[in-house]
Structures are given as structure tokens and as C-alpha cells.
């Protein structure tokens, strides 16, 4: 009851003899062997443009990295103000929209006697935690944020860690990158109709300058 395998109709007699083509196959294998054993591997991360005898297409990852495409956004960050504090006003929009429920916010209130802060904004996050193991990097929080306080423009991916607790990132760890301020920010409201002060470029991405700015407001 053996299954009768249909013979490939395109094989010639020479191919059916098996031995000649088998030897040719061994020759191909041996050619690859000698090319790759004796040829030095080109470490060019762009594998298709590698040159030389070796055909090895491996990228030795931690030592060699393929550059990310320019459209890659990467890990989120909390956007700082010019004074280094987060732009976040603890409105809970991101935590609400997050499908993975990985954002935990606890809101705090600026003291009323504070001159500068409570005059323009009332709330700030006393605790802003993102569980990076839960995050699915969907970007909904960025869309939801009304204050441009969370962005995904670092170009990094989550680094590895040895404990689950090392993936729970709090505000000091999330707060990085160039400061952003908009003309519409309440602390930038002009007192009069005089010419506006020069503002930082609103669409500053990480790595596009403005990294070493002087904090203006202290």
C-alpha cells in the first residue's frame, strides 16, 4: 500500500541517475564552504551591499546594528518644559485611552501661594509610571495628550533588563529629550500685545538640536 510518488516529468535521464547532480550539489556546498571559511566577512550593516568573497549575511547584533528606518519613532518620553519639569498636567487622558492600561498617574496640586505655577496651571503629576512590559507602543497616548506632554520620538526601543521591576519606569526616567514650548502655553502668555518672544521650535525631535539649552525660568 505504498504511496506511489508521481515522478517529476521534467527530469532528464541524467538527472534521474542522481549521482551526477548529487556531485554538483556537493560542489556547490563546498564552494559556499570555502568562500565563507577563507573570505573575511564584510561587517557592513547593509547586508545587500556587502562585498568580498564571503557570502555570510549575519549581522552580529550587539556589536553591529542595522540603522533604524527614518520613520521609526520608538520609545515614548515625557516632554519637559523649559524649566525641566514635565509638561504633563495630569489630566488622565493618556491613562484612559491606553488599551494596555500601562500608564499610572497620580495627580498633585501646585500650592496656591506659588507665584508662578498656580497662576497658570493647577495640576501636575506627582507620580507618572509606565509599565514598559505592558505597553504595546500603539501611540494612542501621544494622540490623546492635549498638552503635547508625551511623545514617541526617541528612536530607542525598550532596553533589556534582568527584573520585571526594571521595566516599570517612573517620571524621572521617562523625562528626557529636548524641552518643548508652544506660544499657547499658559506660562508663555504675553502680558501685552508687544512683539512675541522667540519660542522653541515646537516640533523638536530628539537628536535635532536644542539639547543643551539653558533653563529660562530657573
Amino acid at each position: 500500500m505504498a504511496y506511489k510518488v508521481p515522478e517529476a516529468p521534467r527530469m532528464t535521464v541524467r538527472e534521474k541517475a542522481y549521482f551526477p547532480e548529487a556531485v554538483r550539489g556537493v560542489a556547490i556546498t563546498a564552494k559556499h564552504f570555502f568562500d565563507n571559511i577563507f573570505g573575511r566577512r564584510d561587517p557592513n550593516p547593509n547586508v545587500l551591499e556587502r562585498k568580498g568573497l564571503s557570502r555570510v549575511s549575519t549581522v552580529q547584533y550587539p556589536e553591529e546594528k542595522i540603522p533604524y528606518p527614518v520613520g521609526y519613532r520608538g520609545l515614548h518620553r515625557l516632554v519637559p518644559r523649559d524649566d525641566g519639569r514635565p509638561r504633563c498636567v495630569a489630566c488622565y487622558m493618556c491613562a484612559t485611552v491606553c488599551p494596555a492600561q500601562c500608564i499610572t498617574i497620580e495627580a498633585g496640586e501646585y500650592p496656591v501661594d506659588s507665584e508662578r505655577e498656580s497662576a497658570v496651571i493647577e495640576k501636575y503629576p506627582t507620580k507618572f509610571v509606565i509599565d514598559e512590559l505592558r505597553c504595546i507602543v500603539c501611540g494612542f497616548c501621544v494622540e490623546a495628550c492635549p498638552k503635547d506632554a508625551i511623545r514617541m520620538d526617541t528612536g530607542l526601543h525598550t532596553p533589556s533588563g534582568y527584573a520585571r521591576s526594571s521595566f516599570v519606569w517612573d517620571a524621572p526616567k521617562l523625562l528626557k529629550g529636548p524641552a518643548v514650548s508652544h506660544p499657547s502655553d499658559p506660562w508663555n502668555k504675553r502680558a501685552s500685545s508687544a512683539a512675541p518672544v522667540v519660542h522653541k521650535e515646537a516640533h523638536t525631535r530628539v537628536g535635532e538640536g536644542h539639547e543643551s539649552h539653558e533653563p529660562k525660568h530657573g
Binding site: 516529468p9 549521482f19 551526477p20 556537493v26 568573497l53 555570510v56
Partner: protein, 446 residues
């Protein structure tokens, strides 16, 4: 062109130097022990004892162990990969060679698992029953010739019994008991399938294995491997000048077809891919599915040792053993018989290295055969071909006992094989279906 000159230099100089030193040390150890035993206790045989340690335990086991990492690295080179290269001894990575030490360490420290309701005694016996015959196979393989050193006659061969090749057949088929018993004693359906496959494959290929080498036995009128090797040092044609070069009576010239048959049959006997039906890790995991730790390691390493032993037998029977292809007498006149013997031992190991490499390349070229294909190859192709080879060789030897006619027919066979391998040009091919008639991916990649 950027080349790895270190690797090239090691291949050209390192391997010969390594094998030269190994042979020298083996000779010195054997002669020293032989003469020490002779003078102290008045008995001979010390050389054989030392040989069984140095050749069988040290060299063959190390060779086999290194072939495990060689298999991985060479296989990765064949598949355009780098292969394992992370294990290191501090800053020394040695191209991944420490991986074989790491593997051994891992296997030795793993849990030794015994399946429920397995036969404890046979389960423990089976790995040794595979391993020991395979290592013992090397006892009759002549590594280097007999010379007189320290007043004693020493040869780098553990034993030279009159039954030579028959010993190899006997022990090679003994190894299958371990495989089958491992499959049976594991109390596992897949394991016993693997064991049954192993035994049926062994029965099929034992016959072809024996038949394929009978032609060589007839040609040299012996079954002793060392006598066979020395018979290959004679010249068929030429070899008379000051620098002796000619056509030696090597087995591959007399029996090219027998060489192919023996290679295929022995490959199947060693259960390595593409004949790894008993293992078949993608269908049944094989006869050692229940084994863990070093018990599994014994199965694995005995496969690689079988590669080394098979290479040794092939070299001794078909490739002139430890004899150089030419210039042996010329070289011996300059450096003396002792150093010539060391060079000959080096030659033998180089041949073994080449044949082991060839087996690994074959292993990485072919996909596993289907079971019915394996049986068909054994019974319907190798067995009749071996019979034809035996009758043809016998007739040619009756016509011309000087082996010359046999060699002429052998050359004709080689030329026919080469002509078959050389691909006919596109125009000369009849090409029944122009769209897909030929070129099933034979064009060199890139």
C-alpha cells in the same frame, strides 16, 4: 579581496604541523612503553597498550569531539552563517571551539532522566553499547607504518589481526544493538520506531557494505588493513625514476565504483544525515528521545567518532592509507625511515581530515531520504551494483592478475563518472520542455 589569512595559514601549515607532532608523540610514547615493558618485565605488547590509549582514546575521541563543533561551524559556513562563536575562555574565543567544552560541561551536569517503566539496566547499557564498539572499530586501522625505534618494532596500529576488515564489519553491526535496545528500553513509541528503523537500515546496508569492499579484498588478496595499505604503495605504472612518481595501486583507482558504494553504505551505516532515519528529528525524535545528559552525549559523539573511523577505513582501503601519493622513496632517502614514518602518519591524518570534511559536506548538502527511498537504495541499487562490481573485478583479476587491467577499467569508470558530472551544454541538451526543462536552481547563487 579580503581573506582570512590566519585561517588559510592554519589550514595549509597548522594542520600538517599538528598531525606531525601528534604522530611523533605517539611513536615516542609507543616505543618508550614497549621498551620499558620489555626491559622491566620481559613482555612485549606495551606499544599496543599505549597505542590503544593514544590513538583510540586521545586522538579519535578528541577528533570526534572537535568534529561536533566542526559540524556546527562548517555547516554554518555552508549555509552562509557565522555559527556559534560566543563561548570563550576569557578573551580567547578560538572561532567557537570552546563551545564543545561548554557542551560537554552542560551534558555532564544535566539531570540524568530515567523514564517511568523503562528498563533501567538496558536503558543504562545502551549508550555504552553504541559507544564502545564504535571506538573499538579504530583498533585495526593502521595509522603509521611499522618502524624500529629504541630497539623495538612499533607501528601506530593497535592490533593487526588476520581478520582485519571482518572485525570492522562485526563491530559496526554490533553498534546497532545499542541503538535498538535504546529504542526498546525507553518505553516510548517514537523511540522504538527509531530503534526498529535503525535495525532494518543496518540489515539493509550491512550486505551492501560487505559486498562493496570485496572487490578491494580480491585485488589485494587480503583482509588485513595494514597489508592492504602496504599493497597500495606498489606502482601500477612508473615510479622508477630518481623522484618516484607514477600511478600507485590505490583502491580508488582500482575500485572507483566500489569506493562509491562503500562510501554510501558506510554513510548509511553510521546513521548520519541524509540517512538519519533512526533519528529523524523532524518526524520521530528517534531512538534517543528519552535520553538526556551525557547518555545522550554518548549517542551523539559516537556518531562523530564513526565519521572519523569511517574516514580512517576509507583512507586505509581506498586512498593508500598512510602512503604519500608520490616521492616517498625520494623523501625517505633524505630524512631517514623514522621521519618518513612520521610524515606518513601526518599524511594519514590529513586524509582522515579530508574525508571527515567530505562527509560533513555531504551531510549538509542532502536532505534526509524518505524511508522507502533508503530501502530502495540499499536493496535495489547498492546490492546489485555491489554484486556486479564483485563479478567484474573477479573476471578482470582472472584475466590479468597484475592489476593493470583492473586499473584501466577503473580509469574508464572514473572518466565515465566525470563525464556524467560535467553538465552538457545548453545547446547539446535535447530540452523537451524549454520553459522548465533544466536548471533546477543549479546556477551558482549570486
Amino acid at each position: 579581496m579580503r581573506l582570512r589569512w590566519g585561517v588559510i595559514l592554519f589550514t595549509l601549515l597548522g594542520f600538517p604541523a599538528l598531525f606531525f607532532a601528534l604522530t611523533l608523540l605517539c611513536y615516542l610514547a609507543a616505543a618508550g612503553c614497549e621498551s620499558a615493558l620489555h626491559s622491566l618485565a620481559g613482555i612485549s605488547g606495551g606499544g599496543a597498550i599505549i597505542n590503544s590509549v593514544t590513538l583510540m582514546v586521545v586522538i579519535v575521541l578528541t577528533f570526534g569531539g572537535l568534529l561536533t563543533i566542526g559540524d556546527r561551524k562548517w555547516g554554518s559556513a555552508i549555509q552562509d552563517r557565522i555559527g556559534p562563536n560566543r563561548a570563550n575562555l576569557g578573551p580567547i574565543t578560538l572561532a567557537g571551539i570552546p563551545h564543545f567544552l561548554a557542551d560537554a560541561l552542560k551534558m555532564l551536569t544535566k539531570e540524568d532522566f530515567l523514564p517511568e517503566r523503562a528498563n533501567r539496566f538496558i536503558f543504562g547499557l545502551a549508550p555504552a553499547a553504541v559507544f564502545i564498539p564504535v571506538v573499538a572499530l579504530f583498533a585495526v586501522v593502521p595509522v603509521a607504518p611499522q618502524i624500529t625505534l629504541l630497539g623495538e618494532k612499533v607501528a601506530l596500529q593497535v592490533a593487526s589481526p588476520d581478520f582485519g576488515m571482518l572485525y570492522i564489519f562485526a563491530l559496526a553491526s554490533l553498534a546497532v544493538y545499542g541503538t535498538t535496545l535504546a529504542g526498546w528500553s525507553s518505553n516510548n513509541k517514537l523511540a522504538i520506531l527509531g530503534g526498529v528503523r535503525a535495525s532494518s537500515q543496518m540489515i539493509s546496508y550491512e550486505v551492501a557494505l560487505g559486498l562493496s569492499v570485496i572487490g578491494t579484498m580480491m585485488a589485494y588478496s587480503t583482509v588485513k588493513l595494514d597489508t592492504m595499505t602496504n599493497a597500495q604503495a606498489t606502482w601500477l605504472w612508473g615510479g622508477n625514476g630518481a623522484f618516484d612518481i607514477g600511478i600507485p595501486a590505490w583502491g580508488i583507482f582500482l575500485q572507483p565504483f566500489g569506493f562509491l558504494l562503500f562510501f554510501a553504505a558506510a554513510f548509511a551505516e553510521s546513521k548520519r544525515p541524509p540517512f538519519d532515519m533512526p533519528e529523524g528529528e523532524s518526524e520521530i525524535v528517534g531512538y534517543f528521545v528519552e535520553y538526556s545528559g551525557m547518555r545522550f552525549g554518548l549517542f551523539m559523539i559516537s556518531e562523530y567518532i564513526e565519521v572519523v573511523v569511517l574516514s580512517g577505513v576509507l583512507a586505509a582501503v581506498f586512498l593508500g592509507g598512510y602512503h604519500l601519493p608520490f616521492g616517498e622513496r625520494f623523501l625517505g632517502g633524505y630524512i631517514g625511515s623514522f621521519w618518513l614514518a612520521v610524515v606518513q602518519g601526518m599524511t594519514f591524518w590529513l586524509k582522515v581530515l579530508f574525508l571527515s570534511w567530505l562527509q560533513l559536506v555531504v551531510r549538509w548538502t542532502f536532505p534526509r531520504f524518505r524511508y522507502d527511498q533508503v530501502m530502495k537504495l540499499g536493496w535495489r541499487i547498492l546490492l546489485p551494483a555491489g554484486l556486479v562490481n564483485v563479478f567484474l573485478t573477479g573476471a578482470l583479476l582472472l584475466l590479468d592478475p597484475s592489476l593493470k587491467l583492473l586499473a584501466l577499467v577503473g580509469f574508464a569508470e572514473i572518466i565515465i563518472m566525470l563525464a556524467m558530472v560535467a553538465k552538457p551544454s545548453e545547446g547539446a541538451q535535447p530540452a523537451p520542455a524549454p520553459a522548465h526543462g533544466h536548471d533546477h536552481g543549479h546556477a551558482p547563487a549570486h
